[in-house]
Symmetry: C2
């Protein structure tokens, strides 16, 4: 059985031998090079740009400024288009802007024969600004008299949503309640994918063609069309292998500008290769979200009422808008259902770099405060934190009214049991009581849930096409992109399983081309195996039907007595192998009586969603005088349904855990409060966690088959990053008795809190 | 109405501005370079190859010789595969061979870091041969004791076919018959497409991928699979724009070797760029065919009996085999039906460069003798050559027993009338009687018929896929390749007409990729608009059906009351425009209730064929003392059915006429009888006709709608080259009274004949 088998990735050999083609590998060497002049002011207006010196630089072909571009506002978020205007993303970007809103905003661009000339010309531009006061903090941005970033949003609030359930006012009057009231802060972090965003554009046959390192070719096609004010069918996006995305490339980044620049030079090939510095500042970041949670808890460990306010720092432009804060807030009442709840989420413009989608899409930002407070409450009422969770977590049979997601299994207990057993939780909790030395140990845990794909918030559909070759092998095309996660391999396994052919006979077309690739929205929302699976299964069954119909012509056996097994046409009544699929396909193609190219194509629209669950257990050693945390042991346990490829699933979890460790302990993009400039826009000063910072990363699974799914799968791409930071935080609490209220928990942050708590 | 309109080619702008990507444009600059060592002996065996000096040259990566390659014999002809072994092409090629059969055979290859190193290494190879006697002439090759090229073919006859009708022996006993008995010779010529054959290969995802300048990507895929002994589905062929082919690229040329060389260096990118010299000698040529025709004619201008023998010089390998000579022979009894006929065609191996497909596929070689003799007979019986033709040509209602082709219209008379009128034939025939000066004028004519596509000889099928975009524009994919002839434009017109959308809204995917492109056999046999048309019409109607079905969902109007006109959904009952196709498509893609990517795909198998007809009239001035012919005036008249794009049809005719003029007057690949080496393998010494040699090329059409065809079209690609040489020859006869029996009719050839006929 190929489903559930850890076969080698289809792209493994090419990737380790360097054969795989990434965007830059495909760009002709004589391409023109574009560079962007980014705003050096955090807020203001460009009053003039003197290009005269820049134009004199040999090799400069064209300088385009904010005064040249069309005044067409477009959205950048990698969301499916909606024909309902009220559901469309905020269109607040111009290709280049004179109204600069953060240090790093796009003001002008140079096209040159080579990179050196382009860089020199950028340096030679003389830009004059009228500066405005700027604001970086969400609460300050919401305050009266704060600088306003967008006229349409006085008060800077891009979005506000709320949940009201029961009667909080009344509920909190219950006597004997313990109130836990705290603010929590998460930082701005960046995706730090290996391959920076890069794209190159040219015009062919009247179309603008952009080859781009993107997760979402079909969405980018639409956005380029919108940004340039041209029909969407006249845009072609090609997506080769990409070196990661993690959500940053779930936005249209510089594809619209690059397309425009090519158009400006008559369709010549123009490459726009984004530097690491630009990636940090002028692409997208993860929203810093500040949360305020008040819980009223009964002494028996049940909730009487809860209140959540969260404030999401959007930065200067809307990108994915309010969706991320809203999603984080929605996690709260579902994870721990409570009769009386008040939640409010605000997304607020500031003069910070633009926040967008990043692995977890608001849930890591929500899990840190929520699961931190869970342990704070357990401590306050003197209850074991795992037991407190068991008492309050979403019960079996729980159904969410909006998504219709259901918790079909006793999955939380199953996951928690595995995690506890691996980390030896109960014994260690006991052992670590009453520690006194300078180095103390602790264990902590955290849970999470995640959903799968975006229905019913947005469109969920995937299309697939399959092409049968003469040797019985099959090409598979779909728009759900391989972005390093191994999707192509899972797709090949699904195809092989459904068609009844060997895995090696499936060739997934990894490169998407919007002119040709069946429509699908791309890689995000941990949708790939779930949504792609439906399209693959339906399309493979269509192909199988066509094959067996043709097999009837050749064998005179009724189709309903035929099947395909291991690449052979088999008579089910006696198991006889009648012919190979290759023989059938060759006959079908070249038959002088009935020639037919056997292919199939279909769209599957998903109107379901699925809960994915899991937990993390961490063990730390805290050196109190040194304010250093050493992560000693960590395990993630996931219920993501049926595993298609356990080895790839484990790799996916490893990546997410690593990202969670950095989020917990070291990563933070620092912005200078005086200038609004990013202080650490490089991988030396921005402290990404590395294997040197990791213990063995243990990944375990509970495989509860998801009943709504084509192959029993549900989301796994993003979940691993969600529970890690609060588990480490709770382990530090267990070790030291000190609750941390912000991440990353650096030595500086620990020093401050240890001092406040008088540990020294 | 878009059908019949001379819209600008879809690729015009890109081609004139240099944007279009050809094979070499797509090759990475760091590709390894392969060069081939060709045999310097016309017949023999390679006994040893000393590579030691070559290996020392810096930059040489790998040397592969005939002793290294697998002993897998493969065919190269661009014919559809047949599952019937008796109908398969002759498999007589190895990737490299030690048994050399012509000067230019492929013996060894060098892969190097750059072209200079590769060339130096080729020069440094020390190859020892055992030489055999060789034979260049067909009759000599058929004689007893001639050197035998292939063991399987003692006597060197690759193929022999014959036609017997009536009783010739008896028929020629009829009293009063005039016997005309003559031998005619046509030369070896070469295609001389602008872009030499070039390909580059690499391995990706376990597949061998070859980007190639070929007319037949899907066939080349199969041949590469055969040659390397690997499954056909593990081969991927990509065909970008190509700079002409004319049949030379209807063979697998160096794609199999290039694929093998890449495999030998572990899948690295290897480029094989063929020089002009290699194109002349080691690609394919047009068969030289020697014909012997005896006609027994009654004084009233009717045929009593005819006998044809033709001998086709195949060169060293089978390539397209006997098909070309057989096709030429088959033209004979159909053009001038006669009760008593004996025909024999022989295809014979010699130690000449390999002959293959070339525009006209045997018909230019047949029309020269047949139509020369037509005029010789008319002269002999004292009849006007046009009247003689009218009397004997295939009559209206004629049906060929094999192809079922029918002559539906009085097309020959219609074409002849137009040609006569343009050239002022009757008046000039009279005027040019009894000329005596040194410079004399003459007019001549020739007719031809041609068929369309290859059914019932081989498989004829084409597949098509269409993809609807959000703006209502459509991508069209099919494997029938654009090779410069304008097929993409005709396809776009057909699609627009069938779907009811503006021409500009059709995007034909010009680049074929066998992994993705629906199966079709490629560009040859003047099949494109005929065969492609069926697939396009059927697929467009399928898409239209899907569109109108979706329109029902949106408009609640029954599909049978809906149509698409000018890109809009129209209610036929009152003509109201209900919505644009773009609105429908956008709703269909993004609908939250029913999302569907509207595409269609289908295979159309053709089981018909169609006669295409035409004639050529030429006027010449012959300077007898100088033995020089000046072409003064020329017209081709074609009945190729409905014209899709008259301007492109005219361009196609111009190209064919130019090729015919060169064939008549100047082109000939000369082989040294002493060594077997080609003497003029370059465009300086090989006299291709140029615009300097052409008068105005007049192209006129008779548009008799072909009733078997999807759009009323039939073949036009090859026909224009067929009638030109004999028309010029007959004009020379009219001017001088001298019958020429071979082409090209160079000064040397004219001098010889004028001397024989005592003109001086």
């Amino acid at each position: 059985m190929i489903i559930g088998k850890s076969v080698t990735r289809v792209d493994a050999l090419d990737k380790v031998t360097g054969r795989s083609k990434y965007t830059d590998d495909l760009c002709e060497k004589n391409a023109l090079v574009a560079k962007i002049y980014h705003s050096t002011k955090a807020n203001g207006v460009v009053t003039s740009i003197d290009t005269s010196e820049a134009e004199k630089i040999p090799g400069v072909v064209k300088i385009v400024t904010c005064f040249d571009v069309p005044k067409i506002y477009f959205p950048t978020a990698g969301h499916p288009w909606s024909t309902d205007p009220s559901h469309q993303d905020v269109a607040d970007r111009l290709l280049l802007t004179d109204r600069v809103r953060f240090c790093g905003d796009d003001v002008a661009a140079v096209i040159a024969e080579n990179e050196i000339a382009a860089k020199q010309a950028i340096a030679a531009l003389k830009v004059e600004y009228e500066e405005y006061p700027f604001v970086l903090d969400v609460q300050e941005a919401m305050a009266d008299g704060a600088p306003c970033l967008h006229e349409k949003y006085p008060g800077n609030v891009l979005g506000h949503s709320s949940i009201r359930k029961g009667n909080l006012e009344e509920a909190i009057k219950e006597p004997g309640l313990i109130k836990v009231d705290q603010w929590y802060d998460t930082p701005v972090v960046q995706h730090c994918h290996i391959e920076n965003h890069i794209c190159f554009a040219s015009m062919e046959n009247g179309k603008i063609s952009v080859v781009s390192s993107t997760q979402i070719p079909h969405i980018v096609r639409r956005v380029v069309g919108q940004a340039l004010g041209i029909p969407w069918g006249s845009v072609r996006i090609i997506k080769p292998y990409i070196g990661g995305g993690f959500g940053n490339k779930q936005d249209a980044l510089y594809e619209p500008l690059c397309a425009y620049l090519s158009k400006v030079v008559g369709g010549r090939l123009v490459k726009l290769d984004v530097t690491r510095e630009e990636t940090f500042v002028s692409n997208r970041t993860r929203h810093a979200i500040r949360s305020h949670i008040i819980s009223w808890v009964r002494p028996d460990g049940t909730f009487a009422a809860r209140k959540l306010e969260c404030f999401s720092n959007q930065g200067a432009y809307a990108s994915h808008g309010h969706g991320i804060a809203a999603k984080g807030m929605n996690a709260f009442p579902q994870l721990y259902p409570c009769e009386n709840i008040e939640c409010d989420a605000y997304t607020v413009f500031t003069n910070m770099p633009v926040a967008g989608a990043m692995r977890g899409y608001g849930i890591p930002q929500a899990m840190f405060p929520v699961e931190s407070q869970t342990d704070d409450i357990a401590l306050a009422i003197g209850m074991d934190p795992v037991e407190f969770r068991r008492k309050n977590l979403m019960p079996v049979g729980y159904v969410d009214g909006f998504s219709k997601n259901e918790n079909y299994y006793d999955t939380f207990n199953q996951c928690l049991e595995k995690g506890k057993a691996y980390i030896d939780f109960d014994r260690k909790r006991k052992e670590y009581e009453n520690q006194t030395g300078p180095v103390r140990k602790g264990v902590g845990c955290s849970v999470f849930w995640y959903n799968t794909a975006v229905w019913p918030i947005s469109l969920e559909s995937a299309s697939c096409r399959m092409v049968l070759n003469q040797d019985g092998s099959v090409q598979v095309q779909l728009a759900e992109t391989e972005i390093g996660q191994g999707a192509d391999t899972a797709f090949a396994q699904m195809t092989a399983a459904t068609l009844g052919i060997p895995f090696e006979m499936v060739h997934v077309i990894s490169c998407q081309d919007t002119d040709i690739t069946p429509f699908g929205t791309g890689s995000y929302a941990s949708r790939q195996t779930y949504v792609g699976g439906f399209a693959i299964k339906q399309t493979a069954l269509l192909l199988k039907e066509r094959i067996l119909k043709y097999a009837y012509e050749l064998t005179r056996m009724p189709s309903f007595n035929l099947d395909i097994k291991d690449g052979k046409i088999v008579r089910t009544t006696d198991g006889r192998e009648l012919m190979t699929l290759g023989e059938l396909s060759t006959e079908a193609l070249y038959s002088l009586s009935h020639s037919e190219h056997l292919t199939s194509e279909s769209t599957y629209q998903i109107k379901s969603n699925a809960y994915s669950f899991g937990c993390c257990f961490a063990e730390v050693e805290v050196d109190i005088p040194m304010c250093k945390v050493k992560l000693v042991n960590i395990i993630n346990v996931h219920d993501c349904g049926q595993l298609i490829n356990p080895a790839l699933a484990e790799a996916q979890v490893h990546g997410g855990m690593s990202m969670g460790i950095g989020y917990a302990l070291s990563e933070q993009l620092l912005i200078d409060a005086k200038t609004g400039k990013t202080l650490n826009d490089n991988l030396l000063d921005y402290k990404l966690s590395t294997t040197m910072d990791h213990p063995h990363l243990e990944a375990q699974f509970v495989e509860n088959y998801e009943p709504t799914s084509a192959f029993g799968t549900k989301s796994l791409g993003e979940p691993p990053a969600c529970p890690v930071a609060p588990a480490i935080r709770n382990a530090i609490l267990n070790a030291t008795g000190v609750s941390m209220y912000q991440i990353p928990m650096t030595s500086q942050a620990l020093f401050k809190r240890f001092k406040e708590e008088e540990l020294f």
